[in-house]
Amino acid sequence: MTARRLRDFAARLAPPLCAALAMLAIWELGVRWANPPRFLFCAPSEIWRDATARAGELGMATWKTTVAVAWGFALSVVVGVASGVILSSNRLIERALYPFTVILQTVPLVAIAPMLVIWLHAGVQAVSVCAFIVSLFPVITNTLTGIRSIPKPQVELFWLYGARPWALLFKLKLPGALPSIMAGLRVAAGLAVIGAVVGEFVAGELGADRGLGIVVVVAAKQGDLPMLFAAVALASVLGIAMVGGVNAAAYLLMHKWHVSQRPD
């Protein structure tokens, strides 16, 4: 069983890995052949060389950003699911408050970040809040949609047996909305990384405690392309890891019963 799973895993990992290697190879060869000025473009080998030379600094920056992403995302899960539950509990509440949640999605983060700096000072707190604000909306809407989509007879079944409100919530609404909530978290996980990196542009701490966003800003100002690429690549890896984490959680919670988790 485990050997088979390992084989399945390898079979799934191989195609994207080969595609990545092929693209890197084309990139490398292209740069060596065309030899553009280094402030315009650089080769993967140069990015690798610079990144390994400054591995400690990049590792620390990745860690700082990861912490902010984790806080922001965790906050988003808790606040988003709770808000979705509250909005779904009453049509009037939904009508009164839902329009305001749309603001979360439309107000540009770079415009809010300076306020966060005023209130929270630059640093991990302000950056976490940026990640939180950007990733909150999909969690709220998907929780709301998930709860609203529970078949009415199932709700009526709970009424018929005199279910208490908490039983209705924990035994019907949340598990029933779970597939939809997980879809929202998958979107939110990626957004949290974007929110943290962009948040750092404005609200990030400078100096030794800087995150990937500041690495990006500094490298861009210095025209340090390899460092810029390295920081972007690490942010992508962080995003992939976040989404992978959500997928793993979805698998653990739903593989026994939900179609989305069934093997092809």
Binding site: P153, Q154, W159, L160, Y161, G162, K171, P175, L178
Partner: protein, 257 residues
Amino acid sequence: MPVRVAGLVRRFTAQASDPVEVLAGIDLEIPASQFVALLGPSGCGKSTLLRLVAGLDTPDGGSVLVGGRPVRRREPLESIAFVFQEAQLLPWRTLIKNVLLPLELRGMALGERRDRALHMLDKVGLGDARERYPAQLSGGMQLRGSLARALVTEPRLLLLDEPFAALDEITRQRLDGLIQELWHERRFTALFVTHSLREAVFLAERAIMFSRRPAHVVADRPIEFPGGRTAELRGLPAYNELVERLYQDLLTAEGGA
């Protein structure tokens, strides 16, 4: 448990200016332990009536008494169980956990509710499938599961809203046989909404035919077979005669509103 419906009125307002009257003063007297089939044209209000009896909806007039007690919306009586059109098992719960759900919601101890759910699953022939999830069960098995869930509380009134409409004929006849068996054993009162006249005649002791909207009773016939209800019943002339008579009633119901 006897059911008494008096002057029951229900209107739906799709547009505020134009309310549709679905039930226009229904009166019914159903003695305890009777098996009643509710028949009538599509959309005539049979399901609405059933929902009002269950306390899932509020009437615009009239009253429902179950066992002498008035039924109100969201104040369900413990003695009532409802079987929906589709099985409506919760997909994240195994079959046995679905069946014991009503007992769990009413706060019965874990060991006891498990025993009773297991017993009920054996009754409907699903003992071996108890640890499976609904997605791993056929449509017929899911409906047997929902029947087990309805009966696990030992209801005195069972309301069935076209539960087998989507099944193939053989599975449907098997499930009819199962309901018949369970009813003989437990003698709950049953209100069974169906479109199948044959199913109604096979199962029920009494058939009530409703007219098109706004629904009123156009026929109320006793169905008696001294020989009991076995599969052979479906071949008897008396059975087919009754089906034919109900068909005539249905034509009347379709024609005049």
